[in-house]
Symmetry: C2
Subunit: 314 residues, 2 copies
């Protein structure tokens, strides 16, 4: 049996500005999507956990539970791409995520890439990370019509990455971070809607362009602090990045309150991803106290570590 | 009897960045400091209201209540400057403020300028607004050692002003705003401490300079929107300015929560002044609802209108 782990992705710095030509810093974490593949007599996909336990029969396009159509769209597209490349396969896929979907932690990219990777291994093919990144992007493009190649590249390649969106390129950084926390706040709006709102703000108020510039230059400073392992600097720049994201309309009071309450116990923190809830990063000084704050506010949270590798057999 | 009103001053846009060469937009409001002067047989200064009811005998440097030494320092210096220019005066001064001191609404400037203006009128001298501005600045310099000429100029001249700090100049704008709200939040730190913290941040993290740039360009856009009377634009830029001030470390969760709760009923809002509490401006769409939100949060607030004139007999 093949078992693949495709890591979730957090944006350390630079989300939104990355859409406008600035680099972003992203990292893969030790939570994400597990895909098992075991050859059998028919093609079956079973998902366990978030958002529900479901059983799916691709050949009949039939699921044994309601909802999650969008989730299955990624699986369908990944299976189609995989079959085209590596031939048809009779197998049982089991997909399990230890991150909730739709929080901005790249779970759809991890599902797409994880299924591709597991399929290839099950079919006896070795695919390198960069090819996997391209195939994953093709899956997201098929499902979403338009898609950033960032998440699929990050979950395929792994580690701490500096990424430019257009033209797409990435650089793997020789950087690490101690384990940190991600809190998950209920999300208001989808990534696509939020990105469209930021675009509208930029069209409406010319001052918003300077916020993008400020984020872009902050990413460069954060890059240097990452390489130096300077947590004080990274934390302070996270706060600053978070307020700048607020100026683009994607941070709300829940996040500000959380960061304020955790402030004595963290170097800094920020939303990660499109915002309006979703993932909030907290870089801890005192983990136990951070957990207390998160518990007292009733937030769902995980302690995570950065992974060096992307989607791979485990 | 002479009665002078010296208006309080709010910063509509650009505080903090004004220290680094950017222009700011300020306006005088119909709350501030009242100074009465009535000739008598000795020099007496009586303050009514905030922070307490006090009686002060300048000749003996004796006050009949404790505290407020700093407040009296402005009065002392203003009386000294006035006596030097316009001769000694035996009179009873009564000072009343309808704004609390130390909230960043220029009450110390208003006290200085109000006393100077009342003294001059009581002594039968007419002082023009620009001379008054210079004298007021001299008073603040004597008390504080270092002082911005902005507040004293604004309370002397009145109206909506575009102000540059260094070299100091100002431009009176032909602009108006409908009445708006100021909420007063307990202040954490003095203006001087907060300004020093921002300076330290700028020295420490080069990204902060881009935040100053972003605020500077936002002030120019706000200037255009003010002239056009575009409240939608002004409100949106107020929010943006507030988040940018957050990136400088001077906005806290109380302000974000207040603006978020008031959001359906305002065009926008922001802190006014050095921050960490103090004055919060709210540009209302629906005044009654804004008042309800302010009451529900237990904030002290005032409805204010912009005044066209500076310190003058009333």
């Amino acid at each position: 049996m093949v078992k693949v782990f495709a890591p979730g992705v957090v944006k350390l710095f630079g989300e939104h500005a990355v859409v406008y030509g600035k680099p972003a810093l992203a990292a893969t974490i030790d939570r994400g999507v597990y895909v098992e593949c075991e050859k059998g007599d028919r093609l079956v996909v079973e998902t366990v956990g978030v958002p529900a336990s479901l059983r799916y029969f691709p050949e009949e396009k039939r699921a044994e539970a309601l909802g999650s159509e969008r989730f299955f769209a990624y699986i369908d597209a990944a299976l189609r791409v995989a079959e085209e490349l590596w031939g048809s396969l009779r197998a049982r896929f089991t997909i399990k995520s230890d991150l909730p979907p739709g929080i901005g932690a790249a779970t759809s990219a991890a599902v797409s890439v994880g299924v591709l990777k597991a399929y290839s291994l099950c079919a006896g093919v070795e695919v390198d990370a960069y090819s996997l990144a391209k195939l994953g992007h093709r899956v997201e493009l098929e499902v979403q019509g338009i898609a950033s190649p960032m998440d699929t590249a990050a979950t395929s390649i792994g580690g701490v990455l500096k990424i430019w969106a257009s033209p797409f390129r990435l650089e793997k950084l020789n950087a690490s971070l101690p384990p940190f926390y991600i809190a998950v706040l209920p999300r208001v709006g989808t990534t696509r809607e939020i990105v469209a709102d930021v675009k509208a703000l930029l069209d409406r108020r010319r001052s918003a362009a300077n916020v993008i510039e400020a984020i872009g230059s902050l990413v460069e400073e954060a890059h240097a602090c990452l390489l130096a392992g300077d947590l004080e600097c990274l934390g302070e720049l996270m706060y600053m990045n978070n307020w700048l994201l607020g100026a683009l309309g994607v941070v709300d009071g829940r996040v500000v309150t959380l960061l304020e309450m955790a402030r004595p116990f963290i170097y800094g923190g920020k939303i990660s991803g499109a915002g309006r809830g979703g993932v909030v990063l907290l870089l801890p000084r005192e983990g136990t106290m951070v957990e207390r704050v998160l518990n007292s506010l009733g937030h769902v949270y995980h302690k995570v570590a950065i992974t060096e590798t992307g989607a791979a057999a485990v």
